[in-house]
């Protein structure tokens, strides 16, 4: 069997929920990721909800999901001995990722300059909510705040009701994954000349990047989009793209033109079979139907769009989302059911690809099913999934074998509260 992609490379993870995904991706790619936790445990151990609803330092679902496969050591950054331990680890590391407040690592002598002095190969990624140069350098940003700052919150929700976040935090995952990309890019430069560097990841910018280029609209079209719930498009032509069905919702865009006319023609055929298509829909030249080009919008476009939407909704209400998904796929109608976690768990495509994996968690005395590899590699499959670590589970291995500390030294560090 071939060694894994990043075999032999080591990352120190000093991040919280703003960076956990970075180390998780490195674990999947076969790197060794050492999570450095305070003796009270990484804050991500305390993120609710918990396994079976019971709190506990090994039971946070966030921790189980995004810290899986990492090694855990404890080191107290408030103690000089604890910092010395981290310095020793950094001397043997290829990457560091952290999401601590701006300037904190420098203030305790663990900033990039200090660590790179001893290890010029070090690649150091700092995740920052707003970058390090603006008025928001020291700002706090929890999920809703990053979602707002990056422009996504403004676009989510219905008019007349508050803007929304998603019900599962996302911003930190984008930042962490971006840190993984940046660290790998810097690795290419290091392969050339042996030198590392410092990288700043800007969380706000990461969210702006999710806006599907809507951010160029104010400049190019002179206006900006307001939240419109389940409607898309310009204020002049709101186009529904989430429809109710028998047991939930289905996403579909009623489009014409080069992109969508084939799907819409097939939809109309399908509706016609069940008696839901008006005559004009059957005779419409859908390839020429492009009300998305709202500059050319006329009364007829508006009327036709409204009639299509109401007919589709009546039609969809006769079927379940699973029926719509299966039959839509068979007929080439572009639609997507709004699936819940329960639907995802039962999805036949994921089952056929053996996406979900069962991972033994000895500390919890059970197997836990979870999402598997983010991609399938033909020669070097991603690392087999491992459980998230218990707090300090790998102290002996890392401090003893890797750093070569004696048993006495480790006992002394433990006694003084450094580890």
């Amino acid at each position: 069997m071939l060694p894994q992609l990043l075999n032999g490379l080591r990352m120190l993870d000093l991040s919280d929920d703003r960076g956990a995904m970075c180390g998780k991706i490195f674990v999947d790619l076969g790197a060794e990721v050492i999570k450095i936790e305070p003796s009270s445990g990484c804050p991500t151990r305390r993120i609710p909800p918990f396994l079976d609803g019971e709190a506990g330092e090994d039971r946070s679902l966030y921790f189980l999901a995004h810290q899986a496969g990492k090694l855990s050591v404890t080191a107290n950054l408030d103690s000089p001995d604890g910092r010395a331990v981290v310095r020793d680890l950094a001397a043997k590391a290829d990457f560091i990722v952290e999401s601590l407040p701006a300037g904190y690592m420098d203030s305790i002598g663990l900033g990039f300059d200090a660590l790179a002095g001893a290890n010029p190969r070090l690649i150091y990624a700092a995740i920052s909510p707003f970058g390090e140069d603006g008025p928001g350098r020291d700002y706090k940003a929890y999920e809703a705040v990053s979602w707002a700052a990056g422009g996504m919150m403004f676009l989510m929700g219905e008019p007349g009701r508050p803007p929304l976040q998603m019900s599962l935090p996302q911003a930190g995952l984008h930042a962490g994954a971006e840190a993984a990309i940046a660290s790998l890019l810097a690795h290419f430069a290091r392969q050339r000349d042996g030198r590392g560097q410092r990288i700043v990841i800007n969380m706000q910018a990461c969210i702006v990047w999710t806006l599907m280029n809507e951010q160029a609209m104010p400049i190019m079209h002179g206006d900006f989009l307001r939240r419109q719930g389940v409607y898309l498009g310009s204020p002049k032509l709101r186009r529904k793209f989430v429809f109710r069905c028998k047991d939930g919702f289905v996403a579909m865009m009623i489009t014409g033109g080069a992109v969508g006319s084939r799907s819409t023609r097939r939809l109309v055929e399908w509706m016609d079979e069940k008696g839901f298509a008006a005559d004009w829909m059957k005779h419409q030249d859908w390839s020429a139907w492009t009300p998305a080009v709202f500059m050319a919008l006329n009364e007829r476009d508006l009327r036709e769009n409204a009639e299509m939407e109401s007919s589709v909704e009546r039609f969809f209400s006769t079927m379940t989302k699973h029926e719509l998904y299966s039959e839509g796929a068979r007929r080439g109608v572009l639609l997507g059911p709004v699936m819940s976690a329960a639907d995802t768990a039962a999805d036949e495509q994921l089952a056929a690809r053996e996406f979900f994996v069962d991972v033994d968690h000895p500390a919890l005395g059970r197997m836990i099913r979870r999402p598997g590899a983010f991609a399938k590699f033909s020669r070097t499959p991603l690392a087999p999934p491992r459980p998230a670590p218990r707090l300090g589970e790998h102290n002996a291995m890392v401090y003893g074998s890797l750093l070569g500390y004696s048993a006495e030294r480790i006992a002394q560090l433990r006694a003084s509260g450094a580890i």
Binding site: L185, C206, M253
Partner: protein, 405 residues
């Protein structure tokens, strides 16, 4: 002379729309030579999608949507439905280390440009194929947009005011999750190939990449049967948590996002808002339990305040807050400006136009938007002439026969 992280990396990019081009943009902005092989017969959907220069779709080269995702690349326009066009594409294969494509699986097979054929010619090739649901399985050929996949993978279900009032994330959300994994996959596989000589094929289902961002909710379901539903701005960690309406500005609604994690932040927030402790909301447990009343309480306190000023005051007191920024606000945002996020690049047909910049900054080998996006076939002549040795007569002939554009 400036050196980029990926100098010397050569990429043949057959990808289109969102995920593929955003993935190769990471490579191009960091110095890789990325040649987009665009099918002139089946033009990239983004080239005909807004926003457009002057708000009008004047040509196939006037979409900023396309431009933003294709900086720093070159464009070779071929009609890949014709065998001679595919021969030209294959003549670039020895030059390329990486091939990227994002069609449904049958497209590259029909063109005889799939991994089996390409790797037979070039065994150490690194190739990424990314489609919505993966190269295998009963839904491998599922076609559609990222919006549909965002619904399908579960993001819509957890967005909204309640399970019956969903209100999705804007746009094709998974198109902005999957490239992060795709870029990592390509970079790690390329590094491996350079060290070991072993190339490979990467099958990245945008579905499976997206689900990584939902992992806690899936584990919750598998272990307890609990299904996470849309729940407005309710949070497991913060109370209050959400968006609160402030004073309108220029006739436009302004809102502020506030999230409070503990009693210290709560006290600081009350101080800034000039409110005294309310017996209903003293502890986190109380604030979680009475979140509707809590939202009304805060809503009344901030309604006449300026979102900007309140942000400054709350953050100075250690409370997480920020104005809910519109796309217009983002262009005036002081923090994005300080990060030098926005760039104006001079596009061959569009002239100066606004591009979003990079999401990270490297101290020693920073990437940058090296050039505006190419027009369709902007580099056809130079690629055919300088790289493949076609004479100008031959190129003219290929264009007459509509093999090259």
């Amino acid at each position: 002379m400036r050196r980029y992280a990926l100098e010397g990396v050569h990429v043949l990019d057959f990808a289109w729309v969102g995920v593929g081009p955003i993935t190769t943009k990471y490579l191009a902005d960091n110095g890789a030579d990325v040649i987009r092989i665009e099918s002139a017969a089946r033009v990239d959907v983004l080239r005909v999608s807004p926003p457009w220069r002057d708000g009008q779709p004047s040509s196939i080269n006037s979409s900023q949507f396309f431009a933003s995702y294709n900086t720093s690349k070159r464009s070779l326009a071929l009609d890949l439905s014709k065998p001679r066009a595919r021969e030209i594409a294959l003549r670039l294969l020895p030059w390329a280390e990486v091939v990227v494509e994002s069609f449904t699986p049958k497209v590259m097979r029909n063109w005889q440009l799939d991994y089996e054929r390409l790797s037979a010619l070039k065994p150490d090739l690194v190739m990424l194929s990314t489609c919505l649901q993966g190269q295998t399985g009963p839904r491998a050929s599922f076609a559609g947009f990222g919006q549909l996949l965002s619904a399908l993978s579960g993001f819509y279900h957890i967005s909204g005011y309640s399970p019956d009032e969903i209100s999705p994330p804007y746009g094709a959300y998974t198109d902005y999750v999957a490239p992060r994994f795709a870029a990592c996959a390509v970079l790690a596989a390329l590094d491996y190939k350079r060290r070991t000589g072993i190339g490979q094929h990467i099958d990245l289902a945008q579905y499976e990449a997206g689900l990584q961002f939902l992992a806690p909710a899936l584990i919750d379901y598998f272990t307890s049967g609990r299904v996470l539903d849309a729940r407005g701005n309710r949070s497991d960690r913060y109370a209050p948590n959400g968006a609160y309406r402030c004073r309108d500005e220029d006739g436009i609604e302004r809102w502020i996002a506030i999230a409070v994690a503990d009693d210290r932040e709560w006290a600081a927030m009350l101080g800034v808002l000039g409110a005294s402790q309310d017996p209903r909301f003293v502890t986190m447990d109380q604030r979680f339990a009475q979140s509707d009343e809590l939202d009304s309480f805060i809503g009344a306190l901030v309604r006449e305040r300026s979102a900007e000023d309140l942000t400054t005051e709350l953050q100075a007191a250690g409370v997480a807050a920020y104005p809910v920024q519109s796309c217009l606000d983002l262009h005036r945002d002081e923090n994005l400006r300080a990060f030098d996020f926005w760039h104006w690049l001079d596009h061959k047909e569009m002239g100066p136009s606004p591009y979003e910049g990079l999401q990270h900054r490297m101290s020693r080998t920073p990437g940058e938007l090296r050039s505006a996006a190419p027009t369709l076939g902007q580099h056809s002549d130079e690629i055919l002439g300088e790289m493949l040795g076609f004479s100008s007569d031959e190129i003219a002939e290929l264009k007459r026969e509509r093999i090259v554009y």
